[in-house]
């Protein structure tokens, strides 16, 4: 059963979540005797693709078309659907991202595949094709069976570890028949935070809430994040008041993250905030109020004043590294 994995490129580099998707494909292939093919869209230098082989793909299909350097949903869907058919794959795997769910939806309709997004487990193949997905914004799981021959799976972060022992993959160019309709959207401008670690890709997230009193106090959050190699996040009121940019807002109405470690500083732990973090591996709360609801969800906590605790934490991380 051939498997196709869509590999997303961000700023010329393969996204880590996509490497997870490749390794997910490789795990699945070990039960179904693969092969695993990765699909890359846009112009990307071949040396950047080495990790794709290491994480488990035997082959890379490369659609070299500069127009695809921009996230054009219709064009992506056309390219992926054609690769899905041409590679004769039965399962398409995509890592969850702002772009991939909607693209996956279109591909599923184009190819008649059954689609499951937010997948949180490897499939169980013992009796059909069963997989688990996260629902109710992380508050529950749903076990589904997929009946169709073709399947599209959108997987969450942290479902599998990235493999590193794969070999190098053969790169093959793929030509796609686009239609004019695929390029009717005009992306005029892109605004991206430079050099930051992507929140959704980060292993560690340090997040600040209204307890920090104002944007001028974010220096200590950034410093702790820098020492930990973490991305920074915030609660909704913080982005509403424009202390921080909107794309950092974590929670039900913002970004959902599932890092190994989420540190919440001066965040009360409202259910809508927790909805965005409850699939993190370890949750830490730092809050001066011992009754803050976050302590009910957290694995570790410090009841104390963030302005005293956080600089000490940063020092401790520095000491650890030395």
């Amino acid at each position: 059963m051939a498997i196709l994995v869509f590999v997303e490129i961000a700023d010329g580099i393969v996204k880590k979540s996509s490497l997870e998707a490749v390794s997910y494909g490789a795990e699945l292939a070990s039960n179904t005797s693969g092969p695993v093919t990765a699909l890359v869209l846009g112009s990307v230098s071949e040396d950047k693709l080495e990790a794709v082989g290491k994480s488990g793909a035997e082959k890379i299909l490369l659609v070299e078309d500069e127009r695809l350097n921009q996230p054009l949903v219709s064009a992506y869907a056309t390219a992926i659907a054609q690769a899905f058919e041409k590679s004769d794959s039965k399962t398409l795997i995509l890592a969850k991202s702002a772009l991939s769910d909607i693209v996956a939806a279109k591909v599923a309709v184009k190819t008649g595949a059954g689609i499951v997004t937010n997948v949180s487990s490897l499939p169980d193949l013992s009796n059909g094709f069963h997989v688990q997905r996260s629902i109710y914004t992380g508050k529950a799981f749903e076990n589904v069976s997929v009946k169709s021959e073709k399947k599209v799976l959108g997987i969450r972060k942290n479902v599998v570890q990235i493999k590193e022992d794969g070999s190098s993959s053969v790169i093959e160019k793929l030509a796609v028949d686009f239609s004019d309709k695929d390029f009717t959207t005009n992306i005029e401008k892109t605004e991206k935070a430079e050099g930051d670690i992507l929140l959704t890709e980060a292993e560690i997230v340090v997040s600040g809430g209204r307890g920090l009193k104002g944007p001028e106090n974010w220096g200590m959050i950034e410093e702790l994040a820098k020492e930990l190699g973490a991305a920074t996040g915030c609660s909704k009121p913080v982005s509403d008041m424009e202390w921080r940019p909107h794309h950092e807002h974590v929670g039900q109405t913002g970004v959902k993250v599932s890092p190994n470690l989420y540190i919440a500083i001066g965040i009360s732990g409202a259910i809508q905030h927790l909805a965005g973090v409850n699939s993190s591996k370890v949750l830490v709360a730092i809050n001066k109020d011992p009754d803050a609801p976050f302590f009910k969800a957290a694995d570790y906590g410090i009841v104390g004043d963030a302005f005293e605790v956080v600089p000490k934490l940063t020092e401790a991380v520095k000491a650890l590294k030395n």
Binding site: H130, E188, A193, A275, G301
Partner: protein
């Protein structure tokens, strides 16, 4: 110019609801649960009402659901939609829902189909993409800003680590999120007029179901939170390194 907007809304448990299941974990336990318009769908609706107020538009709200969703649909009418359609069926999976929405859309000839970026029960984030594909329309999500200028739509879309600004021609499908508009609360007049606005019930078209729910599960309960002395935050770092093994 007055345009026709279709807003697709879900009927979902309030965000603070406790989630539990019955019938050997095969059904959602509706007991004591308060239902709301999906928060993202609520943004879509609020933006549609703003467009109606500023330039003129007619708004149809659509829900695929059983009769129990009607109070939620009435709320959308109270917020400012002109008429409603309910497709009388259990929303069994995304493809089923998308097919029903596409059927309604084909008949209504809408200029714009607005949805939420995702439902907060199934969190699939796919219905808008599917509907767009079924109708041959471009789909955009998550859209944070949407302005109309004649036939042209300017949008700001969230991308990872930022946003992009794009332009497209009507008709389109968009999955909305904040800060596209301010949520609306129905006022007394809205609630009164909603009672007499048309709510049409349509029977579903049949669809082959590819994905089937077998069982629901709750995550394992959380253990106690381990508290660290605020005078010694370095203890926390040690625990994270040696016990939790995340550093």
């Amino acid at each position: 110019m007055s345009i026709k907007i279709l807003v697709c809304i879900t009927h979902v448990p309030d965000t603070t609801s406790k989630i539990s299941f019955t019938d050997s974990d095969t059904k959602f336990d509706k007991n004591g649960v308060q239902y709301i318009i999906g928060p993202y769908d609520d943004y879509a609706l609020a933006r549609a009402v703003e467009i109606k107020e500023s330039g003129g538009a007619s708004i149809t709200v659509l829900n695929v659901g059983l009769a129990e969703t009607e109070p939620t649909i009435r709320k959308a009418l109270a917020i400012g939609a002109d008429e409603a359609i309910r497709v009388n069926a259990e929303p069994v999976d995304s493809f089923f829902v998308a097919t029903q929405i596409a059927e309604v859309a084909k008949e209504g000839n809408y200029d714009m189909i607005l949805m939420g970026r995702e439902s907060i029960d199934f969190n699939s984030g796919v219905v808008h993409g599917m509907v767009g594909e079924m109708l041959g329309l471009p789909s955009f999500s998550p859209v944070m800003k949407l302005e109309l200028n004649g036939e042209e739509v300017s949008m700001t879309r969230e991308i990872e680590g930022g946003k992009d600004h794009l332009k497209a021609k009507l008709p389109i499908v968009a999955g909305c999120q904040e800060p596209i508009a301010e949520w609306r609360i129905p006022n007394m007049r809205g609630i009164m007029t909603a009672r007499t606005k048309p709510l049409n019930v349509k029977e579903p078209v049949s669809v082959e179901q590819h994905v089937k729910t077998e069982k629901f599960e709750l995550p394992p309960p959380k253990g106690q939170c381990k508290l660290v002395d605020p005078e010694h935050p370095e203890e926390l770092i040690k625990l994270l390194q040696n016990e939790a093994k995340v550093l």
